[in-house]
């Protein structure tokens, strides 16, 4: 939108030329200066200036919708009002149906805890037919650490959906709908994301996974912090744009790191922190933390507008991930940036049993 050309806004030729002569070619050029500065630059008569500006603003301002019309449209057109099931019923219930379309859901945790397992599970859920409870679409899996395992995918798939994974023809059909990209640098990652604009509609992409977003964007070099933050911000904007325009669930995995502190978070016992900083934390809509509590692997809802902070134990099995047992904890909502190495438990936390 920032790129929209002044020439295509229905302004008078003469006005367009005047703007161009002062190097104002697109909306961003025009609106990226204060009105006074622009007026000085153009030196136009007041009323034609105001008329031109009104036209530009109108042309760039997005249309509005009422919340009701959006909700009605989604109920009508989308599976589970726009959610991708995680196949973990408890998690699905807490998230009002599963991973939501149109937003960024982040999975964060130490290496080996199960983030990629969940990504594989979600990928399978996306490609299997709607008759089996899936989305019947394609997946774009951006694998920056070469962790995508076809063996593991087959294992999970054949356990969960033997009917589909039993014969070569249907496996082939499904596997061809999983696109795996392996960028090796941050610019390559950005390029891949930009190419997606056309791939998404053409290939009926219904899930975008970036496993992990941190690999190529993390760094220890203090000098690069500003550039890195900027790059991260642009990534976040681009991902949101893709997610929202195409109503896609976007799942990204993130790392943890041992150092650094965040005021107001955790209680000092946690030794691990979510990587990529607070600006990134603002950008993700949902943060699911995979960590260890009382010796068990748990998935905790650390940031989510629609659910309370709960942590549920899980197991990694040949079915992918499964909820372990029939209890979950109601935990502190404060630990958005903290990841527990091994949380010892807190008597104040409520344990909730379910059947």
């Amino acid at each position: 939108m920032a790129n929209r050309s002044i020439a295509r806004m229905g302004l008078d030729e003469a006005v367009v030329r005047l703007f161009a002569a002062r190097k104002i070619h697109n909306a961003k050029d025009a609106l990226g200066l204060t009105e006074m500065e622009l007026m000085e630059l153009l030196d136009m008569p007041m009323d034609s200036f105001e008329a031109a500006l009104a036209r530009i603003n109108k042309s760039v301002c997005p249309p509005f919708k009422t919340v009701l019309s959006i909700v009605q449209m989604r109920s009508k057109n989308e599976v589970a009002m726009g959610h991708l099931s995680t196949t973990l019923k408890l998690l699905d219930d807490a998230l009002c149906g599963g991973i939501p379309f149109g937003v960024i859901t982040e999975l964060v945790g130490p290496p080996g805890i199960g983030k990629t397992q969940l990504c594989l599970t979600l990928s399978i859920q996306t490609v299997i037919p709607t008759s089996f409870g899936g989305l019947g679409g394609s997946v774009v899996y951006i694998d920056t650490e070469r962790k995508f395992s076809t063996t593991r995918m087959m294992q999970i798939g054949s356990h969960k959906y033997p009917g589909i994974f039993c014969n070569e023809a249907s496996v082939r059909e499904i596997a061809q709908r999983m696109m795996i990209l392996t960028p090796t640098s941050a610019p390559e990652l950005v390029e891949s994301l930009q190419k997606l604009q056309s791939i998404i509609p053409e290939d009926n992409v219904k899930l975008l996974v970036i496993d992990s977003i941190a690999t190529l964007l993390e760094g220890d070099n203090e000098d690069e912090i500003f550039e890195r933050q900027e790059l991260l911000g642009k990534q976040a904007s681009l991902l949101k744009y893709l997610a929202e325009s195409w109503r896609l669930p976007v799942v990204v995995t993130n790392h943890v790191r041992a150092s650094g502190t965040y005021e107001g978070y955790g209680d000092g016992e946690s030794e691990l922190w979510v990587a990529l900083g607070t600006a990134w934390a603002h950008a993700v809509n949902i943060r699911l933390v995979l960590e260890v509590r009382e010796g068990r692997r748990c998935i905790r809802i650390a940031k989510c507008p629609v659910s309370p902070a709960i942590a549920m134990p899980f197991l990694v099995t040949s079915y992918g991930m499964e909820i372990d047992g029939n209890e979950f904890w109601q935990v502190s909502e404060q630990d958005v940036m903290a990841v527990y190495r091994n949380y010892d438990g807190d008597d104040d936390e409520e344990i909730i049993r379910f059947n």
Binding site: G233, G264, G277
Partner: protein
């Protein structure tokens, strides 16, 4: 104003008349445009006498355009409307609720509840005055996709329980949602609001969530950024006054090297809003602190976020 004729027509005492004549003021037209001090000096009369002469020709000093007396402002303050948040402690921090005709900034760390509060206000503004609302509609400008329809639906469902004539559908139909994807769209949308508000006169709340996101990354020239933000703040202030809106601006926080958090967008932005509220965690509970306001003390209160919305 009396335009014609000689000053003899003014009925001035003779000594005044002769002093004026002596320094060249012979007709009423000559007196137009003279300031009391100039006249006093020219004619060697006192400023009171000069004033009385000018009053006779009807040249009473015009009030300074736009100036208001403190009394005017007091009446204005009393009539100011406020929107309840759903938590009495939080309302107290805001001085009774989020005020109309003002810019209120809400900043805080990720996950603390800024968007939740914004969404709750978009519902609450629609409630009748008896329930803390203004019977008004809301405009929500979403700059980072934080607005989740599922959540607003949950909040509307709770509200609809207490207001039988306002159904969930009605509540959702009166929130006008704009999604902007970069700073240019954000600026263009704010510039287009005046017209929108003329056409939708029931809107009494504008939420911009967040005002920060795009401005943190699209700008290298921080001085330009500060000027644009300033210009934006002035426009928002004008909209707030002209259309009697409560304007709520959600801001993010940045982390300093030592882990300390502070509001984003720098020093110059900190002057833009009338009121600034920071949301933070304290003692395991969410707290709101009013830390800048021309009239309210730095109050603090805890609040919570439940499955149905903002609560005590």
């Amino acid at each position: 104003m009396d335009d014609g004729g000689s000053i003899a027509r003014l009925g001035l005492p003779p000594y005044l008349r002769s002093k004026l004549l002596a320094c060249g003021y012979s007709s009423i037209a000559d007196l137009h445009g003279a300031s009391p001090l100039d006249l006093a000096r020219d004619a060697s009369i006192s400023s009171d006498e000069a004033l009385s002469v000018l009053r006779r020709i009807g040249a009473t000093p015009a009030p300074i355009a736009g100036a208001k007396t403190a009394w005017d402002l007091m009446s204005f303050d009393r009539s100011r409307s406020r929107i309840g948040t759903g938590c009495s402690g939080l309302d107290r921090v805001f001085g009774g609720g989020v005020a109309s005709k003002e810019l209120t900034e809400i900043c805080g760390a990720p996950g603390i509840g800024k968007t939740q509060l914004g969404m709750q206000l978009a519902i609450n503004v629609q409630l009748p005055r008896s329930l803390g609302g203004l019977n008004g509609h809301a405009v929500y400008i979403d700059t980072e996709g934080s607005f989740m329809m599922e959540r607003v639906l949950q909040m509307a469902q709770r509200s609809a329980l207490v207001t039988p004539d306002q159904s969930v559908e009605s509540l959702l139909s009166h929130i006008f949602y704009f999604r902007v994807f970069d700073s240019t769209e954000q600026i263009a949308t704010i510039n287009s609001l005046n017209k929108f508000l003329e056409e939708h006169k029931e809107v009494k709340l504008l939420v911009i969530d967040s005002v920060t996101f795009h401005f943190r990354q699209d700008f290298h020239d921080l001085a330009l950024r500060a000027r644009l933000l300033n210009s934006m703040a002035q426009k928002l202030m004008a909209l707030a006054h002209h259309h009697e809106l409560a304007v709520v601006l959600v801001n993010q926080v940045t982390t300093k090297g030592n882990g300390e958090i502070r509001p984003a967008l720098g020093e110059s932005w900190s002057h833009a809003c009338t009121n600034r509220v920071i949301l933070r965690w304290e003692g395991g509970k969410r707290q709101a602190c009013m830390f800048k306001s021309p009239s309210l003390p730095p109050a603090k209160s805890s609040f919570s976020i439940t499955t149905r919305g903002i609560g005590e």
